[in-house]
Amino acid sequence: MNPQDKMSLSDSLMLVIRRDWLLAMRRRADVLTTLVFFVMVVSLFPLSMEPDPNVLRKIAPGVVWVAALLASMLSLGRLFSADHADGTLEQMMLAPQPLALLVFGKIVAHWMLSGLPLVLLAPVLGLQFGVPTEGLWVLVAGLLLGTPMLSAIGAIGAALTLGLRGGGVLVSLLVLPLCIPVLIFGAGAVDAVLAAKSAAPNLALLGAALVVSLAAAPWVAAQALRISME
Amino acid sequence: MSEFFDMGGRGLYVWGSYGVVLLVFIIEIWQVRHKRKMILQQLRSMRELGDEE
């Protein structure tokens, strides 16, 4: 075999991302379901109360963030389970690249398919709640920094609950408490702007947490996969 | 004495706290003892089955 036939680390990373993207495109309904769920949860809040514009504006960041959290929990079940069921995960673990790298690829793909659409849709929902423009920007910035973290931390939970009965509920039970800081800083950023304060500290903390979790979570999730595959 | 149990009108809260603690401890100790009893019983019956063979 020629040396140029071997794949570099970045080639393998791209392969995993492209593969998950391709598979999702063949099953677009799954991506859409998550998105519709997100919109639906957010829309339920005004219906469950007196739609006072002032109150709605106040609760908007929290509602959007909680809905984003729930929507990404919903899609976590698919992260490894299909690959586990058909044996692809075994082959992934036997790849000559570090497993953490491939897991990182899957996290990136998961975020592009379930996190990014939420980020893009969030301003529209913000407008429904009467959030002013500067608040919308901060909401998007916060979600952009926060949703990859949900995918990364979620990957750990998904790997730990691989192939278990009732894995879907269990994964939320494990992952949601760990995501609380993300929720606090993300929703806090928008709150700060709406209260005419700077959102910078919140966003800086979110950014720092993102760097740390993207560095650590793939490795931890890889260990979890090894445990679960035993 | 009744003054002690009244706790300056806050008896419900103070005794509610300590009472639940007592209850939780009793339940936990009972549960631990029960678990030990069950496992010993199980091991004994396993042993008897082993002796018959």
């Binding site: 075999m1 140029q4 036939d5 071997k6 794949m7 080639d11 393998s12 392969l15 995993v16 593969r19 391709l22 598979l23 063949r26 099953r27 069921a85 058909d86 044996g87 692809t88 075994e90 082959q91 992934m92 673990m93 036997l94 790849a95 000559p96 690249q97 570090p98 491939l102 090894r226 595959m229 035993e230 | -």
Partner: protein
Amino acid sequence: MLEVNDLACSRGDHRLFSGLSFSLSAGELMRIEGVNGSGKTSLLRALCGFLMPDAGTIRWRGEDIRAQREEYHAELVYLGHLNAIKDDLDARENLRINAGMAGIRLDGKEAVAALRRMGLRGRETLPMKVLSQGQRRRVALARLLVGDAPLWILDEPLTALDVGAVGLMQELIGEHLARGGMAIYTTHQPLEVAGVTTRRLALS
């Protein structure tokens, strides 16, 4: 090349086997035998590094496999009970992606050639959904034709295969051994390679 020393494995708290030692060198073929539940699959999974042994060592080229995971994986092909095949993709896409996952870049032509060798001419771009179980197994086995990994670990490779495909497998393993490769497998069907004595390892 592959040395197993005093290996012990268990499932949960139940011991499957212990004190297992053997070695396998270039050109050798080994068949693992034993009744259901004797730990054949567990042994193969331990050899891949999935299962942590309770005791003992597994060495590849003199070094523990856990100390050199990536290097070892580059020289290993494992085919388990599961085919690692995606229903939403076609045969060619499946093979190219699986090869890529194993670090081998495969162009469309090479993939088609490998699939044709496995007797899948005309099925290369059909969605996997419409293929039969035996044909899916053939797509999975096509992984053996790409790359040059010396160690093959095959768990029941003949499941769902017809007589023709079994003959093809015997041929493929023979070629692999002639190249200096080695293979270790389990099977409930007869699988003999002409001119090679199969070593047998019985698990009790």
